[in-house]
Symmetry: C2
Amino acid sequence: MTKEEFLVTPYTVEGNINYEKLIKKFGTEPIDNILLNRIKKHTGELHFMLKRKIFFCHRDLNWLLNKYENGEKFYIYTGRGPSGKMHLGHLLPFLFTKWLQDKFNCKTIIQITDDEKYLFNNKKLEEYTKQGLENIKDIIAVGLNPKLTEIMIDTYNSKTLYNNAIHFAKRLTISTIKSAFGFNDSYNIGQYFYTSFQAVPAILESVRQGKNIPCLIPLGVDQDPHFRLARDICPKLGYYKPAIIHSRFLPPLQGIEGKMSSSKEETAIFTTDDKETVRKKVMKYAFSGGRKTLEEHRKYGGNPEIDVSYQYLYQLLEPNDKKIKEIHEEYKSGNLLSGELKQIMVKKANEFLEKHQKARRKAEEKIEKFLIKD
Amino acid sequence: MTKEEFLVTPYTVEGNINYEKLIKKFGTEPIDNILLNRIKKHTGELHFMLKRKIFFCHRDLNWLLNKYENGEKFYIYTGRGPSGKMHLGHLLPFLFTKWLQDKFNCKTIIQITDDEKYLFNNKKLEEYTKQGLENIKDIIAVGLNPKLTEIMIDTYNSKTLYNNAIHFAKRLTISTIKSAFGFNDSYNIGQYFYTSFQAVPAILESVRQGKNIPCLIPLGVDQDPHFRLARDICPKLGYYKPAIIHSRFLPPLQGIEGKMSSSKEETAIFTTDDKETVRKKVMKYAFSGGRKTLEEHRKYGGNPEIDVSYQYLYQLLEPNDKKIKEIHEEYKSGNLLSGELKQIMVKKANEFLEKHQKARRKAEEKIEKFLIKD
C-alpha cells in the first residue's frame, strides 16, 4: 500500500484515509452547508461534530428530513462490536446519537454484536458477550434516555434477529458479500451470514409497527458496506432504505493513519483510563505536529492538521468553537508549543473522562432497563 | 446423467440410486447381520426396516452400542423439512424413530426446518412455518411419546439454534460447503449458513446437560452430507460425534428412480389422501414390474424389485415377513398379477392411512405438548 492508498471496510481500515476520495469510492454524499442549515431549522443549534464535518457524509438525509417535515418521525439505529474496551473514538457516534435523540426525541436501537466478534476473532463467545456488557456501561454513560433506548445483544436477541435476518440472507449471494467485504472461500459461513444480522435493526421498528418508519443510522464510515447491502434489499422486503450519517475516525495516538485498536493499549485512550495513564500516553505517544526545535516552532508554527492532540480536541474534547479556533491559531502561529498543546488535551481528556467514568459507574445498575426481551 | 449415474445431496436426488455405490461414495458402513444381532440383544426383536435393510447403512452405530452397553443412554434426533404435505416416504424415518424410542426409552428431538425451506424455495416464510405445523401432526401421529419428545421449529427456537449454530458456522468455510453440497457463488448466504442450524440438535442434549450424551440420528440418506460436516466439528467443540443410521428412499409411484416430490401430487401417496384417491393413484400411476401380456406374466412372472406396489409393501406397508415373502414368491412365479398386487397394496395403504389419519386428527390438540420454548 503506497502513501496515497487506503482501505476502509468493516473488517480492515488501513492507510492514510482521504475522506473526499472515500465519498466518491463509497458513493455517499458530502454534508454541505445547505443540508446543515436544513438540520439547524429543526435542532436550533448544530452539534459541533456536524459543524466540523466529523460527520462528513450521508445517504438519504434529505429524504429523511422530507419525511420528518411531513410528520413521519424517524428512529435511530447504531451499534458496537464488543471486541474489547471502548476508547474515545468509540464514543463519538454515541455522543452524537445522544444529541440526535434529544433533539428529535427519537426512539433508538443499539446493537451489540458479540456474535460478529466471535466469528471474526479468537476468543470464546462468552468473552465477547461479557465485553459487550462492559461496553454497554459506556454507551449508557453518554446519557441516552432509557425510555427511548433499546439495547440488543445479538446472542440475547437472536430470535428476533435471525427470524428477520433470513429475509436479507435469502437475497444476498456469496458473490455480493465477496465484492462488498473482500472475503474469499476460506472465510467461514458465519462471517458471510453475519451482515444479515446487522441489517435487521434498520427495519425492526417497521416490522414491529407493521408500517414503514424511517430509520437513521449514525456510524463510523467503515460500517457503510453493511448498509449498502441492506439498503439494496430493504425495498424488496417492502421497507424504507435507512438513511445514514457517517463519521470520520478519531486517529490513533501514534498518528493520523487508520483507526485505533482496542487490542493495543498504547494506541488509544480508553474510557476507563485513569488520569495518570492518560497523561503518560499523551505525553509519550501522541503524535505531534510541532517543529523539530523550539526556534523553528516559534518561527514557522505547528501543523494542527496532523497533530493528534489537536485532532482529539477538535473532534471530541473541545466543543467550544471559539476556544478551538484560538488553539488552532496559537499553534499554527508558533505561540503554542507541542508540549503545551498536549497539556491542554490531557486536561480536557481527563475532565471528559472524570464525568464519563462517574456516569459509567452509575450505568451499571441501569443496564437491565435498556436490554430488550426477545 | 447416464443410466448408471445418480446424485444424492440434501438438495438434489437424481437418477437410479445404487445404494452399494452410495455407501462407498459417502464412506458409511453397511448394516450387516453381526450389527443386527447386536441390536437385537437390546431390542428383543428387530424392526422390519432393519431386517429388510431399509435402514441400510450407518456411521458409528457400534460405538453408540458400546456406549449404551457401558450405561450411557443416547438420545435420538431427526427432522423434517416442511416443503409441503407429507407422503408415505416421509413417514418412514419417523416410524422407525418411534420404534427406537420405545425400545431404548430415548429422549427424542425433532427439528422442523421452516427457515431452510424458505431459503431454498419460493414461498413466504410463514407458509413453511404453517406447513411445518401441519407436518407435526403427521409426526405426532406415528405415536411418539410426548414425555420423551421435543419438537423444535427453527423459527420458534432460533435463539437456541443460532447461539449454538455459530460454533459450527465459525468452523465451516465456504469451500467446505461448496464441496459438500455443490453450491456456487450465486447461492445465498442463508443457504450456506443453514447447515450449522441442522447441526445443533446433534449436540443440544450435551449442551443442556453439561456433559456428553451420545446421539443417534435416523435419517434419509440424502441428509448425510449435513452430518458429515457436523461430525467433523463436534469433537472440536468437545462433543461426541452423532451416530447415524440411514434409510433408502421410498420410490415415487412412477418408478424406482429418485425421491418422491411433495410438489407433484401424482408421484406420491400423501398422508391425507382419501381411499379413493389412493386407489386411483396406484391404479393409474404405480409403476408395475409385470409382463406385457397376461400370458407372458403367467409364464415368466413379475419383477418385484422394480414393482412400486411391491416396494411400498416391502418397505412400509407389510411388516409381516411371512406375508411379504408369499407376495414376493407369488408375484415372481406369475401367480399374482400386477392388478392383483396393486389391489393388495391399495388395501394395505388404506388400512395404514385410516389408522394414521385418525391419529393425525387427535394430534392437532397435542401439538403444544411437543413444542419447546426457547
